[in-house]
Amino acid sequence: MYTAREYVLPKTLEEAYQLNQKKQNRIIAGNMWLRFSSGSFGQLIDLSDLGLNTIRQTETEFIIGAMVPLRELEKHPELNAYTGNAIRDCVQDIVGTQFRNSATIGGSIWGRFGFSDILTCFLAMDTEVELFPSGRMTLADFTAQKPDNDILVNIILKKTGLKTAYRAFRYTATGFPVISCCVSKGDFWRIAIGARPAKAMLHILPDTAVLSSAEDTALKELLDKTIFGTNSTASADYRRHLAQVMIIRAAASLEV
């Protein structure tokens, strides 16, 4: 556990951003991951007073505040209707109800964790992030970039009519995923594979690609291009095999 000199609740994004420019200061969201940091921080910057805990909708997008807890995503009727429950499916096995009442989408996306169910899921959908002060960029670009001192304000899910399905494999009900896959289909396929164990990777394929069996060339090529690794949880070969099965199942569920 860390120690900190001060706990601050900025009232504006500008104030939060200014505080976040100091190296010893830290933004605190759900604190689920941050709690494992050791050392001494200057100011803990709590984003709770910035109104970032709501899910709003326009005709063209869902705007999800960075401080929205995972459990709210899980229970949100419109978000889950739009994503065919992919959002519920990607968060519902993360630790437990109490955990998901505090862990936030902002902390999950910001962390760019290799094991992240959430990053995998949102990467396969038409997602942008809104940063202060840099503005909007695609989630794929954000994921590729190194963490800086901006504030993650919103996660924006565009309503582009994609069909989406999420699948992951865990050894225990609430453990980390051994592999996570999210498949969506619109004008083309978007396939994200996470927990490789490195962070999720996105593949784009033409909508004519067939992903229905292990023999399909498109699926073989996609798996060849994906870097799977070995760690104490699983071997690269095993992860590749699981990914193949998960993608076939997720893709099949979109065809019904």
Binding site: T3, R5, L44, D46, T97, Q98, F99
Partner: protein
């Protein structure tokens, strides 16, 4: 720093550090039902309610609860007794170490979910580990408790 909050329906003023976690704050207020079982945000033993919602107190910064309401098992004695009667009858109580967090989450579930089935119950409680008496005994106790509650509620409605 100083915070004001409501603990089990009573106003509390407390002096904390910026890195005090709610668990330690609650124990310093004498709520010894609130225990740390894992140090990895995984076990559910430290469950309390923040404005009625179950959370893990081991990771909740105490500074964040200023102006909010916290409920621990100490503040829910009557409801807990009602449920633990069923646990005793089903023999689903052994060393009792994980009981406080488990009971807090069962009571939260009973408030949040309408007529949950076994899958929903298992899912809601999946973050409460240990449970050495066995998950089957717990499930029997929960189902009987929920049936009892719903009978009382229906009875209450009929009497109106």
């Amino acid at each position: 720093m100083e915070i004001n909050y409501i603990l089990n329906n009573k106003k509390v003023t407390s002096s904390i550090t910026p890195h005090t976690m709610l668990l330690n704050e609650l124990r310093s207020q004498g709520c010894f039902s609130v225990k740390c079982g894992c140090e990895s945000t995984n076990c559910g033993l430290c469950t309390v309610w923040l404005d009625g919602t179950p959370i893990l107190s081991c990771t909740m910064p105490a500074a964040r609860i200023a102006g909010h309401s916290i409920t621990t098992l100490e503040g829910l004695q009557a409801q807990a007794l009602e449920f633990t009667r069923f646990m005793a009858e089903e023999g689903s109580d052994q060393c009792g170490f994980c009981n406080p967090g488990f009971i807090m989450n069962v009571l939260a579930m009973a408030r949040e979910l309408d007529n949950p089935d076994q899958n929903q119950i298992n899912h809601y409680l999946a973050g409460n580990l240990c449970r050495c008496t066995g998950y089957a005994g717990h499930m029997r106790a929960i189902e009987k408790y929920l049936a009892f509650r719903s009978a009382i509620q229906k009875g209450g409605a009929d009497n109106d």
